[in-house]
Subunit: 224 residues, 2 copies
Amino acid sequence: MAKETYVPPTLTVDSVIFQLTNDKLMVLLIKRANEPFKNSWALPGGYIAAGETTTEAMDRVLKNKAGLNSKNLGLIEQLYTFDTIARDPRGPAVAVTYMGLGRNLAESDDKTQHPTFFPVTDLPKLAYDHKDIIAYAHERLKSKLTYTNAIFALLELKFSLSELQTAYEAVLDRSLDKRNFRKKFLSLGLIQPTNEYRQDGAHRPARLYRFHHPGLQTLTRSFD
Amino acid sequence: MAKETYVPPTLTVDSVIFQLTNDKLMVLLIKRANEPFKNSWALPGGYIAAGETTTEAMDRVLKNKAGLNSKNLGLIEQLYTFDTIARDPRGPAVAVTYMGLGRNLAESDDKTQHPTFFPVTDLPKLAYDHKDIIAYAHERLKSKLTYTNAIFALLELKFSLSELQTAYEAVLDRSLDKRNFRKKFLSLGLIQPTNEYRQDGAHRPARLYRFHHPGLQTLTRSFD
DNA sequence: GCAAAAGTGTTTGGGATACACCCATGC
DNA sequence: GCATGGGTGTATCCCAAACACTTTTGC
């Protein structure tokens, strides 16, 4: 195929940004300002331009559409590339999707896009097949928690064991046994106790822990 | 961004096709007929055109460059989408990669592309970053064998337990204990004995087994 | 003293691992 | 009868799962 006559398909990037708020897993959505699906909620996404990498496009789109700096994400992972014949009413396209995990991410006050975090268990009606993409991302995240320490990206640098467990429970959407959880997680040797405690109401203060090493690690024994 | 002025990046598809030959894991390569990397070995790949899905492009490229019909693959799985700034000397590009598994796939006698299966443990010098892509695919396949029945795509419909074990050993690149392997695999309840035996030399004939259900299944307990 | 979350051990069952010999066949 | 791969069982260890009470604090 000669370079001169080659026309590539439309290429887009969509991001599934998760964070925890009030012990619930939330996902970032924006309100579409333009057709198609004008005024529907959707994942932040946009075109990838020539000369741009997919991650550069993701950064740009997150900044422009949601006021979010990707430097504030603790972990970014590519999810899947969807063939989107009939997905975008404007015609066939290919969509590269990424998942981002963060903590204390702000909803910018963009009056056009209205970036807003919604609980994954209670989503509004979504544009395109974004509901499926979020479900796919959620499954990937659940799986990731069982064989890596990815949970760190959803937590503060220092955290109590109860916070850790609650984070797991929020993502996995089921309750875990406190004693077994602590025994198992501590035996993985990923976290260390600090000498700090957090006082947090009319009850015993919680010891704070931190991960030995920043960044993603694979677990020696798969969790759960 | 206005539709009229939008120019997407170059989009390509590359395929990592695996099969077993003589108890070794082999990968399909072609000899590049054109620059860049003319005369280097490379994964079969090519451009994705507007109006074409990534899987359609994969099918077309496999057919044209390696004479391979994707219907002969037992399993096809998307691997990853690579940002390829500086990967293709002709400029930035995005490459969608797929892994395909098959059995008794022929090397067509194309005198230009010379499609040939090489042992993954003994690859020639490769164009682009295709060596890394093959390594990535191999890791994904190893992992996939531990939590799915993906091995079926590398085997005949009926197979002996020794063939099954040898296939696992070829992909995982390590030896397994025969008694434990059989006990474990049979306990998964995925395969059933047939009444057929295969005579295959000066020794006891091997009973043949088959999977209960065609297609990919997730294991109830992860293997290995 | 009471409410509320933090913290802590033991028992049991199932599966992973390690390991060696007999069986059926061709020549 | 011997070489070749097919086929089989047991003992041990570790880990997952189940399960309830004491501690520390604020009010």
